[in-house]
């Protein structure tokens, strides 16, 4: 995987399922100042990424699953590994479930939602078993769709009102920080760096630049989307619209073109598959490390059907909300743990693998 592909890989994993309801989630947490929270969250994620890269550099040629037992010892290390594997599979399930729900809500209200699962099943079996190079190439290819998505958001300014976001900073810092906290789940995807870091050919250059660029671009994308939605919907109406992005696009009528939301969502579905493949790959890598001598291919064949069983949890808003809540808390542990590990490693000055 080249550095460019690493950039695309991280960016695609970050921009995914969360986009559609991100403005709503932010508004619930931070009120009208939610758009500032994004910048804050983006900066925090950048900081985390710096630490991740520093951690990975201490163990060149090894990924998280491999260096974890070296840091924490066999038992504890493997327990943490299991937790990470669980996280990746759990997020895959959640993404699949949310995709199912949103497709039914917005695109195909009469179609059997299991077909979404079936389609994803085929894609995952086909893609996630491949090497990370193949996946990263796919990610690089679909990166360009991001431009299309942003362009679609910029087709209508009729209902725009900048006064909706004024006055700036009315909720104070607590609101902004609360918003940053709740937007972390939408930023998720950068932790995959820990899994793929071993496969990056840096050719002597730093791994940091591409991942920081990826995160900055993801932040910018979220920022544009959220700000546009905040300026299009009054603060009073936003709590009533759980998916503001397609709702906003639904109202745009271009010459010869209506229902822009359907086009946007079709592009968005491609993004979601990219996220899904990345997570599935990471999960498969975990099980592959234990049982199949690092061959994740074998694990994918039985993991994908298991993840697809998540479809049975479908059609209950309450259940999905609960899963999202779990994902939120669990993710904080997942993204926070490497920071502790780094401190631990740094203090004990542990190094592993072949020196660079």
């Amino acid at each position: 995987m080249t550095r460019m592909q690493l950039f695309a890989f991280i960016l695609q994993s970050q921009v995914g399922i969360g986009v559609l309801s991100f403005p709503y989630v932010l508004h619930q947490a931070a009120g009208e100042d939610g758009w500032i929270s994004i910048l804050l969250a983006g900066a925090c994620v950048n900081l985390l990424l710096v630490i991740y890269v520093a951690l990975c550099r201490r163990f060149p040629g090894q990924n998280l699953y491999e260096f974890m037992p070296r840091i924490l010892g066999k038992w504890l290390g493997n327990a943490v590994n299991a937790f990470y594997t669980f996280h990746f599979l759990f997020i895959s399930c959640l993404v699949l479930l949310l995709e199912m729900m949103l497709v039914e809500l917005w695109i195909l209200p009469f179609t059997n939602p299991w077909l979404v699962i079936a389609a994803n099943f085929v894609i995952l079996i086909y893609f996630a078993k491949e090497s990370v190079r193949v996946i990263a190439r796919y990610n690089t290819m679909v990166t360009f769709l991001l431009i299309l998505m942003v362009a679609m958001m910029f087709t209508s300014f009729n209902t725009m009102d900048y006064r909706y976001v004024l006055p700036i900073g009315q909720g104070g810092w607590t609101a902004i920080i609360a918003g940053a906290k709740s937007s972390v789940i939408s930023f998720l995807g950068f932790e995959l760096l820990l899994i793929v870091s071993s496969d990056v050919q840096t050719k002597g250059k730093s791994m940091l630049t591409p991942v920081l660029w990826a995160n900055c671009l993801a932040t910018l994308f979220f920022f544009i989307v959220v700000l546009l939605c905040f300026m299009n919907f009054s603060p009073e109406s936003l709590p009533y619209i759980p998916q503001p992005v397609p709702y906003f696009l639904n109202g745009i009528s271009l010459p010869f073109l209506e229902r822009l939301d359907l086009i946007f969502l079709s592009v968005w579905l491609v993004k979601v598959t990219a996220t899904l493949i990345s997570y599935m790959y990471a999960g498969g890598k975990g099980l592959g490390y234990w049982f199949h001598r690092n061959e994740h291919k074998k694990a994918i064949y039985y993991l994908v059907p298991v993840v697809c069983l998540a479809g049975f949890l479908w059609r209950s808003d309450k259940r999905i909300a609960l899963l999202q809540k779990i994902a939120e808390y669990e993710s904080f542990i997942i993204i926070g743990l490497p920071v502790l590990l780094f401190l631990f490693v740094w203090l004990k000055d542990k190094k592993g693998g072949q020196p660079v």
Binding site: W106, T111, A119, T159, R163, G251
Partner: protein, 379 residues
Amino acid sequence: MNRLAIFGLTVVFLLSGCSYHSDLKNLQLIYATSLDTNEKNEIVTTVTIQSPGGKERTVPIHEVLSASGPTLQESLYKKIGLQIAGPIGTSKNQVMLISDKLARSDLLNLLDATFRNSNDPMLAKVAIVHGEAADLIRLNRIGSATSGEYLRKIIKSAQYETVIPYVTVHSIYPLLHDRGKDGVIPILKRENGRDGETDKDKAVIDGLGLLNKRKYSGYFLTPEQASLFLLMNNGINETCVITRKVEESKGKNDPSQYLSLDMVSSRRDKKVTVRSSGQVQVQIKLKLKAIVIEYAKNNRIDKQLVDQLNKRFSALLTQEAQGICKLLQKAHSDALGIGRDLMAFHPKEWKKLDWEKAYPETEFQVSVSVEIVSHGIIN
């Protein structure tokens, strides 16, 4: 393995179409919907349905159906759905007409079924009808268009001419929630012609209904006022022609007293301030640039006359604009979005303010200045 995969893929792709299919040819497409109320306080829905028809290229057949029920869902989707042969298709709905009686109830509650469904056409144009809304649906064909298409075109052309704003089911929903701004909805009415052949009944734009929060206040702007209001609020859409009587002379009414101006650009400055006593003060300065398109008086338009006309027209429009603001206040309709300005620029004062009470006492200072920039190819 490979063969199995190929077989599996083929099955998934070919058979997924069997999961659900709704053929366009069977769909009974609703082209216009109207909502009335009857003496039992039920909602009476009237729709015009057009089926795509057979292979022959014939004029589309349309029929009018009506049903009543306690809610929109009951009366429209269920009861009308039962009356027609084939599945009901709402995706082509062009206009959503609401009778003025019904519009005085909570619109958010009334239209909930439409807002809630992503498959319903969010771009259907919303209008209030003075009188019975179903009367407009029952209009006979005008030209080649069926009533749904006809009504949509009427509304569209009025939008083009800056008489009414762009109001759809989609745009009205966030507005009904908005605390800082009240919506406006175009008003249509049926005008009876003399006979069925040469002078048919038709629909005309009757102005702009002012909403008070989620309800129609009952007050409305005439089409002339509506144009000026839109200039004050949004600006020119495509064209905007304003004709006023600039000369008063007793007894006679003749074309030479009128001046028609085509507005080419508009600039609006709005300043909202709050006095220490809590009174809100609004200053609106509207600057218009215009082209003379009709001034039938046998006069050469020279610089002096232009100045004179500028002054006269500005004075007329200023007076009218003040009248509009008075009417908005009387209707308790904050259609200019003053509340939002207060929220954005004077958040502290806004918190202390009881907008319900303060709005009618708000002081409006409006001035319109017109500048004639061109007078066509003759002087």
